[in-house]
Amino acid sequence: MNLKPETLARIDEVIPHYPSKRSATLPLLHLIQEDVGYIPPEAIEWVAARLELQPINVYEVVTFYPMFRQKPIGRRHIKVCRTLSCALLGAYKTCEAFESAFGVRRGEVSADGEVTVDFVECLASCGTAPVVMIDDALHEKVDVARAQELSAQIRREAAARS
């Protein structure tokens, strides 16, 4: 495992927060996913060794929780809430707008590797539906027009990077 020094420092800091090392499984997986972008197989072995667990103990956690992924995704992660309050205000159309902007289906990475579009369940912001998270940032009242603006912004940011 090639983790950044900051990641390793934060791992050292978080383990003593718990009387039992196993409790640090989720925090370690979050830190690794933030660093690497996903949870590669060797990370499961690495976390298990670090926390004195069997790899299966870590693997079963990775496979259960929706936020942990075992494959890389696009550079930007677009998560559209599909649960009732958002759906009532057009979340399915919002999701389609992102899909057509990037030529992907939900659950897929766009051909240029720029985005992954996913449906997610209630993000606890139902009063400002439909809501979308792009990476760590919440966007509220994302109708089709707003989804197109946000898509254009992602394109501009991608162009500025290259």
């Binding site: 103990n57 929706p66 599909r82 009732l84 009532l88 606890a124 139902c126 539906a129």
Partner: protein, 452 residues
């Protein structure tokens, strides 16, 4: 009669211009004075204040907070933990989010008072994984509070010490269920534990006595210590004391969060006056009053019976609009106040598609331990999705109901009830629409707003 005014206690500073989430701002507004009051008193007295206040949990079940604290095993010699439920995962609920993001120190103060009252030395805030910013805000606020002597080894010079750590979830609804949450905090899959024997108050985190409370509940504890349990119990209505935050979403003109004395506002006042009524040209069709697990109400239905007011038994005859928003009245009419999430649907809504949307949620979120829940939630999803997208049959309603009826009461945790109530209540209230669906769907245009 105009709707009563909001009574903002917990949300006093939410959205206030110039109010920031740092310690200095909190202190300028009198912050941590309740903690100062608390540490000058005996822990037992604080538990008594909370008992006197009548505070009921705001996470979903409405269990009396003081009673919960009274059940904690204090003789085991094991450490006692506090776990703050900041999972906020019940669809339709969005109140803890604003406390965490805009007023984190109010929560930390409530946590520290609760810890002092219950001799807790270690608290964890379990925050849902989809609140990365919230987790950072809490961590910063805890560090500030630690530097200020409100958290840490020697709180306000008393010699009493307590730490708080933030623990992030990773996108699973079942982590909101308190024993699932505890398993998750132990680093495992969040499989809920069976009660008995695993009551958190006795065998909780690391098999130690554990208190699990919702974010909003702990903010109320802060207010109770500030004004006294007796004074708090006069806010709201008997057995439904204090204020609560009602989160309104869906088809109203002004969705959002509104804090009211419990039971002092009716559902009709809330939706018609406070939230501005239905969208232009629309009428209300249905409302789910306490998070997506609560049973649905159909506008036009009536509820009749007798209820106790003081010592008298009084007749009531209510339409949906007349129901006071409190735990007991909502339970009386067959639904629940739950988490305070009010989801409104107008007459544009295809009720079968709305159920398909909810069923997809529960099928996705069942932890899978219990066969009736795992299979039942999956089949309810498949049947309702087929009705919407494939072939609908007149007998599908009865089939859905028969699946739902076999789940509740046969599972480890209350998710079993939570996933069957929507189907049961949608069928009970809108059985006619399910029956007519094969025909009505043929003539219907493609939905402008698909729900599933």
């Amino acid at each position: 009669m105009p709707a009563p005014a909001q009574r903002r206690i917990i949300f006093q500073h939410i959205d206030e211009p110039g109010y920031t989430n740092d310690l200095a701002c909190y202190l300028r507004h009198g912050g941590y004075s309740s903690l100062r009051k608390a540490v000058a008193r005996k822990p037992e007295e604080l538990i008594d204040e909370v008992k006197k206040s009548g505070l009921r949990g705001r996470g979903g079940a409405g269990f009396p907070c003081g009673v919960k604290w009274g059940l904690v095993d204090r003789k085991s010699g094991k450490p006692i933990y506090l776990v703050v439920n900041a999972d906020e995962s019940e669809p339709g609920t969005f109140k803890d989010r604003y406390i965490i993001h805009q007023d984190p120190h109010q929560l930390i103060e409530g946590i520290m008072i609760t810890c002092f009252a219950n001799n807790v030395k270690q608290a964890y805030i379990y925050i849902r994984g989809e609140f990365p910013e919230g987790a950072r805000i809490l961590e910063k606020a805890i560090a500030e509070a630690r530097a200020g002597g409100f958290v840490g080894p020697n709180i306000l010079g008393t010699g009493y010490g307590c730490e708080i750590y933030v623990h992030r979830g990773a996108g699973a609804y079942i982590c909101g269920e308190e024993t699932g949450l505890i398993e998750s905090l132990e680093g495992k899959r969040p499989y809920p534990r069976i009660k008995p024997p695993y009551f958190p108050a006795v065998l909780g985190l690391y098999q130690c006595p554990t208190i699990v409370n919702n974010v909003e509940t702990l903010c109320h504890v802060k207010t109770i210590v500030d004004i006294g349990g007796e004074a708090y119990s006069k806010i709201g209505t008997p057995n439904n004391t204090g204020t609560r935050i009602l989160c309104v979403s869906g088809h109203v003109q002004r969705p959002g969060y509104y804090e009211y004395e419990v039971g002092k506002i009716t559902l009709g006042e809330l939706l018609n006056e406070v939230c501005g009524g239905p969208l232009p040209g629309r009428r209300f069709k249905a409302v789910i009053p306490g998070g997506s697990s609560a049973k649905i109400l159909r506008f036009g239905e009536r509820f009749k019976g007798k209820r106790k007011i003081g010592n008298d038994l009084v007749d009531y005859d209510w339409g949906v609009e007349d129901v006071p928003m409190d735990f007991d009245c909502l339970a009386m009419i067959g639904t629940m106040g739950g988490s305070g999430g009010v989801i409104v649907m107008d007459d544009s809504v295809d009720i079968v598609a709305a159920l398909a949307n909810i069923n997809e949620f529960y099928a996705h979120e069942s932890c899978g331990q219990c066969t009736p829940c795992r299979e039942g939630s999956l089949w309810m999803k498949k049947i309702s999705a087929r009705m919407v997208h494939g072939e609908a049959r007149t007998e599908d309603g009865a089939l859905l109901k028969s699946v739902a009826d076999q789940i509740a009461g046969r599972t480890i945790c209350a998710f079993g009830e939570a996933c069957s109530w929507p189907t049961q209540s949608f069928l009970a209230k809108f059985g006619d629409e399910f029956k007519a669906y094969p025909e009505s769907r043929k003539s219907a245009a493609a939905p402008a707003v698909p729900l599933a």
